[in-house]
Every structure is written in C-alpha cells, then in structure tokens.
C-alpha cells in the first residue's frame, strides 16, 4: 500500500470565523422559511426568508453573505427540507418559486457590496443608516425582479401578470419585514451583535 504524506493546510482564523457565521445564517434562513404567515393576496406563502437575506448581506458582507445563501439553496437541492413549507429538492428550484431562491445569493451579495464596499464586512456602526436602508431596498428589488420573471417563465404567462402574482402582491409584507429589520439597524441592535470589531 502506498503511503501518502501531505501536510495539512489549515484554514485561516478569519476565514473560519466568517465561514461559521455564513453557515449559521444559512441555517437561520432555513428556519425562518418555515414560519409561514397566511397571506390573503397571493398563493405563494409569505415567509420570513427575506429577513435571512437582509441579515446575510448586512452582517456578512458581499462574499460571505452570498456564500451563505448559496449554501441554503444547495442544501435544499441536496434534499434537506429547508425551503418554505419544508420543501426540498432540485424540483423546487426549477419550479415557480425557484427564482426567489436563486435570487437570494445575488441579493445578499448586492446588499453586502453596497453596505460594506469591500470583501471583509465592516462593523455596522461605521456604516451610515441610509446606506444600509438603500442596500436592503435594492436587494428586495433584485429578489422581486428575478423571482417574478422566473415565475412568469415557469408558468408560461406574460411578465406583467407574473410581476403581479409574484411581486407586487408581496410588496406590503416585504416592506413590513424590511421596516422591522431597519428598526433593528437604526436601534443599533445589529451593530451591537455584529461579530466584527
């Protein structure tokens, strides 16, 4: 039997820290996706998933925030019941709501890029609140845009009706979630629990 000698190449301390946080934010997004709030205007469930996207972008920055939500999508495709209503599987991603799932890493990356403007996340109290708010709203717009186009394509309907069914009806609920997260930002709560010094 041939023996193999190879030195172990340890992952750097900072990377381990960011990676561990990306993992728990992905798990948190999966947990929040299970809290379905009945919503009268659209058949798609209204969940707290997007809160996970906001938090990933705000707290982890562009690279690790995007990785976190990418992990969420991959774990779901691999078969863990992490999508809304304990859904799992590649089929959910090709289905009508798959666009939202695929838009999450992109949105988290964009929020992180706007707020932190570098790969490593900054401490949130050093970023002005309006920038954080703008970042979240742009992220939300990205989620709607990709999600609705995907919905329209997967059910073969026009973009306009897709936007209504998959985007516009969610605006009140999503603004509510954004307002809740913004009040975490403005209250300094997120800056307090942010793990970056």
């Amino acid at each position: 039997m041939t023996e193999q000698y190879e030195s172990v190449e340890l992952v750097g301390d900072n990377t381990v820290q960011y990676f561990a946080m990306a993992v728990v934010v992905a798990a948190l997004t999966a947990a929040l996706a299970q809290f379905t709030v009945p919503y009268p205007f659209s058949p798609a469930p209204f969940t707290l998933q997007t809160v996970g996207v906001y938090l990933a972008g705000l707290l982890l920055g562009p690279l690790w925030g995007a990785l976190s939500l990418l992990l969420y999508a991959m774990v779901g495709a691999a078969g863990a019941p992490v999508f809304a209503g304990f859904g799992a599987g590649f089929g959910v991603i090709t289905g009508p709501t798959g666009g939202y799932i695929l838009s999450f890493p992109i949105a988290a990356g964009i929020i992180g890029a706007l707020v932190h403007r570098r790969v490593d996340p900054r401490a949130l109290d050093s970023v002005s609140v309006p920038i954080q708010v703008v970042g979240m709203l742009v992220g939300l717009a990205v989620i709607y845009a990709i999600g609705s186009v995907w919905l329209a394509a997967s059910t073969d309907q026009s973009l306009v009706t897709g936007l209504i069914e998959g985007g516009v009806v969610f605006v009140p609920g999503d603004l509510l979630k954004a307002v809740a997260v913004i009040s975490l930002v403005t209250g300094g709560h997120l800056a307090r629990i942010s793990f970056v010094e």
Binding site: E6, V8, E9, L10, V11, V16, Q17, F19, A20, M21, V23, V24, A26, A27, L28, A30, A31, L32, Q34, F35, A44, P45, L48, V51, L67, L71, M74, V75, A78, G79, A80, P81, A84, G85, G87, A88, G89, F90, G91, V92, T94, G95, P96, T97, S154, T155, D156, Q157, S158, V160, T161, E165, L176, V179, A180, V181, S183, H189, L190, F195
Partner: protein, 247 residues
C-alpha cells in the same frame, strides 16, 4: 414532507453523481419541451422513477402543495388581460402545460431526495467543485444540514417565549423585529462556538474526502442524463428535428 429514508431500492445503491446528472438532464429536457409526445414519454419516466423509489404520487403532490397551488393559478393569471375583453382563454393551455412540466421535475427530484442522503451529495460537491470553493461549499452543505434542526428549535423556542410574555399583543412589525433579534443573537453565539470547534479540529483545505464509486448501473444512468441534456439543447436551439427525435 419527503426526506431521505434508508432503503434497498436500485436508486439507493446508485452513485449520487450519476443521479445528479440524470436529474439535471431530465429537468432540462422537461422544462424546454413543447412536444406532446416528449411530454408523454417523460411522464412515464417520472412515474417509473417514483415507482422504483417506492414513493406514492399522492405523497409527492401533498408535499409540494404550495407549489401546486401556484402552478394551478398560473393559467388564470396567464389569461388575464388589462383591457377588454379582460380574459383571453387561449393563453391558459400553454400555462397549464408549463405547470405540468414542473410537476414532472418535482416527481424526479422527490425520488432523488428520498433515496440520496445529504452526506453523499455533499461528498459529490466537495470532490467535483474545484479548489477552495468546493471545500467550503461541501463542508458548508454538511454543516447547514446539521445546524438547520438546531436553529429551527431555537426559533421555535424564541417564538414560544415571545408569546408567553404577551407577544401576540404586539404589532406584526414588532414581532418580526424581536424574533429576528433573538434568533440572530442565538445563531451568532452558535456560530462563535462552531468557529472555535472547527479550529480545534484543524479545519483544513485538504481533508480526506468520503469515498464515492461508480457501480455497473451508474453508467447507463449517466448516459441517459447526457442524452436528455442533449435533447434539452436541441429543444432550446429550436432545431427542426426536435419533435421527431427518438427518446
């Protein structure tokens, strides 16, 4: 809910990589086709897959009921027009067909989920996604799978605690705010401990990977997956032979 269940079916014995290729090929071919004959053949394939995986059609449909409601409303929204005559019913059948194609993909992916443990998919990712990205994604998938139930329990407990203290009286905004704050704090303290644990266990860029090996039955499945992917490309590019291709 459909998750991995231990079993002895043919699919349980297959390599996750061949199942991934076949699944991708099927999905690509199914969502790109408009030919009734291709849809019919793919329907038979999907039903056969469920039978081999010992999954009932009703169980799959019930699991994905949210998706189905959305798909069922597709034709209605597709027929809406903003102006007289308001309804254009000729747009409903294509939308119905598109929804049906998604259901076929759901069948096949449910069979994958039922017969493939997450650790095997994780091994496939870690082996084949190149470089450090592959290592992080592979390990990450394994860890998120492990942490999901734990964090879910944290969120449930936080919500229960909120309710016990009269949280139902609060506005929706305040409830979301408090729930997010509580759960993020808990998740981050878990993240700190996870980082420490990873460092203590020498988390490295070049770990020993789990073993994966192709068996005899894997090769035809990979071939079928590649064929279906090819069919998908033919359909996307709109080549004239698309309808008459033998499947």
């Amino acid at each position: 809910m459909i998750a991995y269940e231990h079993g002895t079916t043919l699919f349980h014995r297959l390599d996750p990589r061949s199942k991934l290729v076949a699944q991708f090929g099927f999905a690509f071919a199914a969502v790109t086709t408009t030919e009734p004959s291709v849809v019919a053949v793919l329907s038979l394939v999907a039903l056969g897959t469920l039978a081999v995986a010992r999954l009932s059609v009703f169980r799959v449909l019930w699991t994905y009921r949210f998706v189905l409601v959305l798909l069922a409303l597709g034709p209605l929204f597709a027929s809406l027009r903003f102006g007289p005559p308001w309804l254009a019913l000729e747009h409903a059948p294509p939308s119905l067909l598109a929804g049906y194609q998604v259901v076929l993909v759901l069948f096949v992916s449910a069979a994958y989920v039922r017969t493939t443990p997450v650790r095997e998919t994780r091994a496939a990712i870690q082996r084949h996604v190149p470089g450090r990205a592959g290592q992080l994604l592979g390990t990450g998938v394994g860890l998120v799978f492990r942490f999901f139930p734990v964090v879910l329990r944290d969120v449930r407990r936080a919500r229960l605690a909120l309710r016990a203290r009269g949280g139902d009286e609060l506005s929706t905004r305040e409830r979301i705010q408090r729930l997010s704050l509580l759960t993020v704090e808990q998740a981050f303290s878990r993240g700190e401990r996870l980082a420490l644990a990873l460092r203590a266990r020498c988390f490295s860029w070049n770990p020993t990977l789990p073993r994966l090996a192709f068996g005899r039955a894997d090769y035809p499945l990979v071939a079928a997956g590649l064929l279906l992917t090819g069919l998908g490309f033919v359909q996307v590019l709109g080549l004239p032979a698309a309808g008459s291709l033998p499947v």
